[in-house]
Amino acid sequence: MSVQRNFPRGLFIAVTSALALMVIAAIVVEQAESSREALPVYGRVPDFAFAECRGGNFGLKDMLGNVCVVDFIFTRCQGPCPIMAEKFRDLYQSYRGIGDVKLVSMTVDPGYDTPQVLHQYASDQGVTDDRWVFLHAPMDDVVRLSEQGFMLPADELPMGHSTRFVLVDRRGQIRGYYCSDDDNCFGALKAQIRRLYHEAS
């Protein structure tokens, strides 16, 4: 048969199954994309203004327009905080030159962590600009912001502070919580920062 000579049957089957597989691929990729799109809005960051260790205040209005990662730490902490700080240093280095990705660390030990102590701590972390801020406020305000604003437990501070990283979009909306002791969580956090960065504000 002339048809078979010109375009062999085996090849026809191969091409057809390849096309079928491409359809499967399209569906799988589409599913994977949409599964990631589910980046919910957990809530809004309430209005606040805490003292920043290098002077002045930093609050919700400074967060708006920026993609922010927030955590609660204290400088004397020997447990999870050094790991959290290491991750933040990584982010701080990664996003060098990008002014609208900000890192916000709040002390849960305001009695010891005076702005001066925080300033020294910031220098130790290699922080040279305002992409990473260190905030200080009276204990009651910190507890209220942690529990009611960021919905993170704040029992028996300073030891009982949360070790989660909170991702906040440009509109001040909480979009994700990430564990700080695991590289997978960290990878996911970076991927979501990239998505929120490109999300229209």
């Binding site: 390849a18 597989l21 691929a25 994977a32 990664s94 996003y95 564990c179 969580c185 990878g187 920062i193």
Partner: protein, 311 residues
């Protein structure tokens, strides 16, 4: 003997399917869909919802779709391992005296076992670019071995397969050249991907087109080699179609397929220039290149067989 042939054949197709699912894992970004290995979130059957997670695991880590894409690839790999192991055992039973069949099928068995173990390394290394490249290159070696084994068994069963055929002089050398080029091209391709990954860490927030445009010399090399592969592929394809007398169906269909794949490669090449690296194009690209390598090897083996029975 026929059952061995059948298993070898099915294993070859299955190897391509697993290359496909592996590519899907990569392009859908599901590589860390299961953060642990070999289990997924500590379970042999991945969780269906985050309520099934152990309390120590952060639920925000769990994504149902990504976990199952990654796990499906592992299951397919496991099935492939079993298929290739059965093939190797059947070869040892039936073809122990044919070194040409025996050695590659045993090596294939070892490689598939290694790939299975290395899949775990890919996960625990958090998708280290070098380890991912080795994983991809080894799967190409595996599929090449399986094609070779299947074809050699075919020639034992059908010794007359290339009897009446006449191919252009020195086509074997051209096929060897094309095969070498396509292998080199894949190697450089993995370097392109690795470079993009490194750049994505330096410029974490940039668009993927920006990443691609910053890849530099390795991408030029990939483009130039690509043009050479396409030239060589089109040349051997046309030579076999126009200059052969009574070619075996394998050669004839192979030649048509290679022309088709070269055409697809050209379309994809321009596509990348225009659009960056969309997921679907990336997997098509991976798949086309794995077919090119396998197909040219197959045609080269057929030309060798022709020379063997002629001498």
């Amino acid at each position: 003997m026929r059952i061995t042939y059948r298993f070898a054949w099915i294993s070859t197709i299955a190897t391509y399917l697993v290359i496909f699912t592996g590519g899907l894992v990569r392009v859908s970004g599901a590589g860390l869909g299961c953060p642990d290995w070999p289990k997924c979130f500590g379970r042999w059957i991945p969780p269906l919802s985050s309520s099934q997670l152990a309390p120590s695991i952060d639920p925000s880590q769990f994504n149902f779709t990504l976990a199952w894409i990654e796990y499906a690839n592992r299951l397919c790999g496991l099935a492939l391992g079993i298929l290739i192991a059965i093939t190797a055992v059947l070869v040892i039973i039936n073809f122990a005296r044919r070194v040409r069949i025996l050695v590659p099928s045993i090596v294939a068995g070892l490689i598939v076992a290694f790939l299975g173990w290395q899949g775990g390394e890919v996960v625990t290394s958090e998708l280290d670019p070098t380890i991912v490249s080795v994983h991809a290159l080894l799967s190409l070696v595996l599929v090449s071995l399986m094609i070779f084994v299947t074809q050699q068994i075919h020639y034992v069963l059908y010794p007359d397969a290339e009897k009446g055929s006449i191919y252009p002089a020195r086509i074997r050398y051209w096929l060897s050249l094309a095969w070498g080029l396509s292998l080199a091209q894949v190697l450089v391709g993995t370097q392109v991907r690795g470079t993009i990954e490194i750049i994505s860490r330096i410029m974490p927030l940039a668009d993927d087109r920006v990443w691609l445009s910053n890849t530099g010399s390795v991408l030029y090399l990939h483009t130039i080699l690509g043009i050479m592969v396409i030239a060589a592929g089109v040349f051997v394809g046309i030579a076999v179609i126009l200059r052969s007398t009574n070619p075996s169906s394998l050669m004839r269909e192979g030649a048509w397929a290679i022309l088709l794949l070269m055409f697809l490669d050209i379309v994809l090449g321009f596509g990348f220039l225009l659009t960056g690296v969309p997921a679907l194009m990336e997997i098509l690209h991976l798949w086309v290149s794995s077919f090119v390598v396998g197909l040219i090897l197959m045609m080269r083996t057929a030309a060798m067989q022709k020379e063997r029975i002629a001498s």
